[in-house]
Symmetry: C2
Subunit: 898 residues, 2 copies
């Protein structure tokens, strides 16, 4: 028979490389034993995550565990010099969960295991404090009942409150032995009442029940929810750490606390923390008593204070990251119970990275990996003042970062009007459409009750850098009555509303906003990132303003300029509509001439801003009917002009007919992208002419020649590309511009067919830009518009997906298609330039994937450019680490898309 699986490791047998097996807490405990020595870390052992996974699969303890746990206890008893259940000098232990990634508050802990009516006396004698012994017993009864048996915490609090008030005391630590004995009795009665069985007194039974409870808690709703939000796989499981108890509640030379190796809010190089004398850890966390600052330890216990600071520095240096430590002082002796990388706001993370390098603690690449790229976004947008608490009215999807406030308005027109009058407004809609875009520009922020992170509102808002909360299902929008309702609260047009697009919060309170500050640390971090990364970072920019903003944030080009957004502005839309309603080509050509100088102006502005950096312009992409008014509003308009403006009846009727003719059952799968270019060649001709003239104008006036890239969208067949490319080249030629010399022509790869046939298509393309939004949509047969907030929210709940595929690239499907297209395209054309435009170009996990498959660039919305720069650098560092198999690579891989 094969050796049974080893499910239990003593702390002394593990190390930090064993995170997957021992969990983060267990691996760090093991590592700490090595770094700080056995004296600083109370002894114990870890039951592996594999045991948890096997437990979940089998529905029972896996073979071997029943033997390995008692053996580990025996070793622990020997090291501690005490025995579980020993009535004279009992060993008490704790059991804590510890998953691969920290999941604070999500899984459960039981302290003081081993206490019962036979050992409480021994504990009292050894500690010299009967009160301590009974308090420990009281705590055990409470935690065990709550965590293991699931008895509501408030039932315990009620009993505790009753006893405290009858004793006339305010704090738990003022209770005397008699009260504590009464409480233990009450808690044991409560346990019996709720479970039908007595509170177990056998220490081994206590431990076994606790282990099972910890394992089960992995499947508890809070843990599931946390994993869903944080994208942690269900099948990782949790480890259980069993450790000798040390006591911070043995009097005034005892205490417990948490400490950070640096200031946890700012990252400044000064340790910070909170502690309490005569208390156990949970007293510090619970906030019942006001905690003391770390400095306040220096005077009463100077050696402990000095040792703690030294340990913080040692651990930080050893782990190469800012540490968050739990400590206990037992009768003047300092123990470290846990260390982990400190969670910190973006500002602190950035500061730490820069300081760590200048202190020689880390090299630049590693320093950068200590910053979570996605969080950088926080630093670029205003936020609600954290010092000003407020009541949230509702919560939606955090769709575009930043906070904003203003008067609620319920139509794009009202927003534009208010903006003209200089008033700040928030545009509130059920959902937004192309028609609303002018309102986005005019508003400070956007709130919708439908749609998710990839809704029209979210996409446009992110593109424009406007804060947006979308899909706030509790909000009922009544645009006709110009009001919104949340439960009983009614907010009418003109009343104040505030949103935070980084958190999804909505309030009607006047919360102060804090402006974004881009400081030297931030700049330094991005400079270093630029040195390391291979991926070029471009921005999606549709206007000269966007282009300017993206350059100031470090974009190295425009990866996607959507020409249709230029068509949407209030002064142009009528001209665009005039083109679309003409059923005759000649008529359309004539009307397009009016648009040509306008488009040329846009392109000139963008090319000037980009000063010789590449600018990829996408030819018209969306279905034409997106530019037309919805049929309902047209019917109303027809009614109106019939009465008021008879001359316009015919025009309106023609518009209605055209809208009907252009309507499609599934517009996303209809006449759009290059299909428009095949059906209406004159539109693309105008656009190409405009951009060629713009490029010439800019060339004439600038030293840096513009790098224009013409992008043909939604290609399936090489022939589509060939036909349109030929026309582009010929129009450009008429304007004195030569392909290859003055501009390049490529395609947006955004259909699975194009990925499979990439070899054929590459023969006609100078570059591929993967349009991952549409590629995700078509590969999954799932509409962004329809799925987010509806199907996808159910899929997230049921753990069918860990993250929305529109947010983070679906590697096994969409990613595999891209990888195939890259291989097939490059096989035909080794110099093919390969990039990504689409939401995923700004998502760190997706960027890691794009780096891995060797793309040349990513393009994202301007405000995501810093995120992408850092993520691209970290992707390189992680890939190199993975290749070199350095110890810290194990952690680095955790975020790779599965």
């Amino acid at each position: 028979m094969a050796d049974p699986v080893k499910y239990v490791y003593d702390f002394a047998d593990g190390d930090r490389g064993m995170v997957a097996l021992l969990g983060g807490k267990g691996a760090n405990l093991a590592e700490m034993v090595g770094v700080l020595g056995e004296d600083r870390v109370p002894p114990g052992f870890t039951i592996t995550t594999e045991a948890c996974v096997a437990w979940m699969r089998l529905g029972r303890e896996p073979d071997g565990l029943e033997r390995q746990v008692p053996e580990a206890i025996a070793r622990l008893e020997q090291r501690a010099g005490r025995k579980l259940g020993d009535p004279d000098d009992p060993l008490l232990i704790s059991a804590r969960s510890g998953a691969r990634e920290s999941m604070p508050g999500m899984l459960d802990t039981v302290l003081n295991l081993g206490i019962n009516d036979r050992t409480v006396g021994g504990l009292a004698r050894r500690s010299g404090s009967e009160r301590f012994a009974w308090d420990s017993r009281r705590r055990f009864a409470q935690m065990f009942g709550n965590v293991v048996a699931g008895i509501p915490g408030e039932l315990y609090e009620n009993e505790l409150g009753a006893v405290k008030s009858s004793a006339g005391v305010e704090f738990d630590n003022e209770l005397g032995v008699a009260e504590l004995r009464r409480l233990v009795e009450a808690f044991e009665a409560l346990y019996r009442e709720q479970t039908g069985t007595p509170l177990p007194s056998d220490p081994v039974e206590q431990l076994e029940m606790t282990i099972r409870a910890v394992f089960d808690s992995w499947k508890g709703p809070r843990a599931v929810e946390y994993r869903r939000i944080n994208g942690i796989p269900d099948d990782w499981g949790t480890a259980v750490n069993v450790q000798q108890m040390v006591f911070g509640n043995l009097g005034s030379d005892s205490g417990s606390g948490v400490a950070f190796s640096r200031d946890e809010m700012t990252g400044a190089p000064k340790p910070s923390g909170d502690f309490l004398f005569d208390a156990q850890g949970e007293d510090v966390v619970s906030g019942v008593r006001n905690t003391l600052d770390l400095d306040q330890l220096a005077e009463p216990l100077p050696e402990v204070h000095r040792d703690l600071l030294g340990i913080l520095a040692t651990l930080e240096a050893h782990f190469g990251d800012m540490q968050d430590v739990e400590f206990t002082i037992e009768e003047g002796r300092l123990y470290i119970l846990q260390t982990r990388a400190a969670k910190r706001p973006a500002r602190a993370a950035v500061r730490f990275a820069v300081d760590a390098v200048s202190e020689g603690l880390l090299r630049r690449p590693q320093a950068l990996t200590t910053i979570e790229a996605a969080k950088l976004d926080q630093l670029l947008h205003p936020s609600f003042d954290p010092d000003h608490p407020f009541g949230a009215l509702a919560r939606g999807v955090a769709a575009s970062p930043g906070a904003a406030k203003g008067e609620a308005v319920f139509s794009a027109e009202a927003a534009v009007e208010a903006a003209h009058e200089g008033r700040d407004v928030i545009l509130v809609r059920r959902f937004t459409e192309a028609d609303d875009v002018a309102g986005f520009n005019a508003a400070r922020g956007i709130l919708t009750s439908e749609g998710g992170k990839a809704s029209h509102a979210a996409l446009v808002a992110r593109g424009m850098g406007r804060p947006c909360v979308s899909g706030a299902a509790e909000v009922e929008v009544d645009a006709k009555k110009r009001l919104m309702r949340v439960g009983d609260t009614v907010i009418r047009e003109g009343e104040l509303i505030a949103i935070d697009g980084s958190t999804g919060e909505i309030t009607n309170e006047d919360v102060p906003l804090v402006e974004a500050v881009i400081d030297e640390y931030f700049e330094t971090v991005l400079e270093w990132a630029d040195e390391i990364r291979h991926l070029e970072v471009r921005a999606n920019a549709d206007t000269p303003d966007d282009a300017a903003r993206s350059r100031s944030l470090g974009a190295e080009g425009v990866g996607l300029c959507r020409t249709e957004h230029m068509f949407m502005s209030a002064d142009r839309l009528p001209k665009v509509r005039a083109v679309i309603v003409s059923a005759e080509e000649q008529d359309r050509r004539r009307r397009l001439e009016a648009l040509l100088p306008l488009q040329q102006g846009d392109f000139e502005g963008i090319l000037r801003e980009m000063e010789g950096l590449p600018v990829t312009v996408r030819l018209l992409d969306p279905p034409l009917h997106e530019f037309l008014p919805p049929s309902r509003s047209l019917e109303a308009e027809l009614e109106r002009v019939r009465g008021e403006d008879p001359d316009r009846v015919e025009e309106t009727e023609r518009m209605i007919e055209r809208v009907e003719r252009l309507s499609e059952v599934n517009p996303m799968l209809g006449t759009r992208g290059c299909r428009l270019g095949i059906l209406y060649p004159e539109i693309y001709e105008m656009q190409v002419r405009a951009m060629m003239r713009a490029a010439r104008a800019v060339t004439d006036s600038k030293a840096e020649r513009p790098k224009l890239e013409v992008m043909i969208p939604l290609v399936n067949y090489e022939r589509e590309l060939e036909i349109i490319r030929d026309r582009v080249v010929s129009v450009a030629h008429e304007e004195g511009m030569e392909v290859g010399k003055d501009f390049r022509v490529g395609t947006m790869v955004e259909l699975p067919r194009a990925c499979m046939a990439a070899g054929l298509i590459a023969a006609q393309a100078d570059f591929f830009s993967f349009g991952t939004n549409d590629l995700t949509q078509s590969a999954l047969g799932l509409s962004r518009d329809d799925a987010e907030g509806h199907i996808l929210s159910v899929y997230l709940d049921q753990r069918i997906v860990d993250r929305s595929p529109f947010e983070s690239l679906d590697a096994p499907g969409v990613g595999a298609l891209i990888e195939m297209a890259v291989a097939r395209g490059r096989a035909v054309r080794p110099d093919l330039k390969l990039g990504v435009c689409g939401e995923h170009g700004g998502d760190p996990d997706s960027i890691e994937f794009f780096n891995q498959i060797g793309l040349d660039y990513v393009s994202c919305s301007p405000f995501r450019v810093p995120v992408a720069r850092l993520a691209a650098a970290n992707a390189v560092t992680r890939a190199e680490a993975a290749a070199a198999m350095t110890p810290w690579a194990a952690d680095a891989g955790a975020h790779t898309p599965a």
Copy 2:
């Protein structure tokens, strides 16, 4: 320097294996020289298709051709014993195009090259007929001017008519020398007038200009159109065959004709044909004079008649296929100018195949490959009586085969009503929707003015075996006024209309219909096909009737039973709607109970009909709102009940609200397929319960246990499948049925994501069925509903695609995805059963692809089952031939999807 490319082959140097290079005609001429000897085939040479391709690429004659043609002419002169331009005994030659596949009438021919004012006299002397010589010159001037210079044929006809009427004769051959001389003058003047240059008299110049014209004609609009319709690649090019002229117009012992080795209409083993005495080939084809039957050759020229019959038999035996031969008799001597496989109607093809085997001419597999599988369909449906000519009113897409006639009706209700009264009707709609399905059943045929071969109307009609003409753009349907217009013709409800869904023809004449006859030949062919094929052939059948029909046509199971079609019948739709309008799960569950026995009944019927053959039932697939009435009709209904039926106001309002809530921007990419199963588990539960109970009921009463396969549609993620599979298994278990033993669970692979992740998905599936309709739609980002008749028709016109990807599998895109899914799926699960359901399961080219990649079965609509059986057999034979590289394999590969 490398040897120049050989662009010219003498007939004696080629053979039939060189079709790609010499074209069909050239290769067969070469082969004939080998089989019949040089005496039967006038000598000549072939200029290769490569020369044509090089010509198109370079825009000029490729190097070497300028030398090789004169050399070949010299050899030809030697063999013929005459010289071009010899004034005493001139050689005349013909030049004919000949592509790889026969393209009748599409490319051009010039006869009598070499004639001019110096040679006409020699020709007269040699032939002893001045009239013949001038007639030849007249013909040359006419053909050359028409074909090479593109002068409209009617200008020549006008001159000819004028001369004939002034001479007072009816037929060309009654013209005397004087009139012919006048005509030649007139034609030469016409040429000068139209081209500005004189008609060339130098024979070599005549030939060179002709060769160029033939090459250019490959790009002519007629040729392009023919290739488009027949899916022939543009880059094949055409060969040019240059051959010594022989003359059928040298008097009464001369003649020209065409002959078939068997009866060309029935395939009966008796040669047939048409010929004329004293005529050239084009006289026979033009139909100006009434031709004679082949038998009529026997008396005047018995030896020639006997030789011809012998040659027909020899050629048929040699080529292994029914032959279509062009012959000329020159002064009693028989020449064969061309032989090719005879085009023939399905009936003749089937008869020939069976006879050829019984005569020992062919082995069964090869005999079957002489039948074009797609044509078998013709034999299963009634057709317009071919003996009854009629005037077509309009033409649409041949969307579902067979002819039908009846009163025009313009709504499904009217169709149902008429059917109740026993009247035959044709349902005429702009397009059809789910609501119209009851009307399909009631109507004899369906006519729509929009949509193509993959429109809803076409799909449903084919599924139900109803003839359908779709996308008849000239037909204007006014459903409100209950009439249709074609130009000035108005057809009102109740007036007669007839359609032929095999040809797309529409008429308002009372054309007699001829019923389908399935004869012994047909049965024999299919039996042989069954022996050869590897692919299993199943049918898509939604009702017991469908199932019965498909079995009678040889289906070996049901590959796709769409449960939603069961929901559409008039008695069930209200029950289905009742389910959908309930927003509460418990409510829905209760209402579903009413549907359960009905679904069970359907399944029982189908399982009984299939007697132990596999039946794959797909769980509910379409978006729920397809079952709901359109919002407009609901608004009208609300108006109505407000007045008439106040009790129903609330119900109607609820329905309106629900319809709005369920409406999606892109329903094809929305809440459908297994997403319904995730959102509304109770629906699938009901369906699974119904099928399990049905299977048990059938098991109890039958010897053959049913083979039930539960199919989960539209899967992307393995977790979707896992969740639903678990529920299926558990409901089945409640009904006493065990997975693996009593039924299997698989998935429809119809999304690109599922193909890429097929390895993961296979772990949860007993089988994959590729849903190629949806897979095409999602891989190409192209909606069937929106594309056919619109974008796709433009794409076909512009040669972006050769055939609609919804008709014939897009091999480089969709095919590549399927191939990948097959490889990934089988790698994980070697016993995975793999099939196709979808339109492509009945398309021969697609079937060849499916055979090639090793699928287990195809499933198609019942009437396509015979087509699929034959196509599957021919796929095997062709694959084996390709592997063995037998000579006839070269031809066989021509239809493989590119």
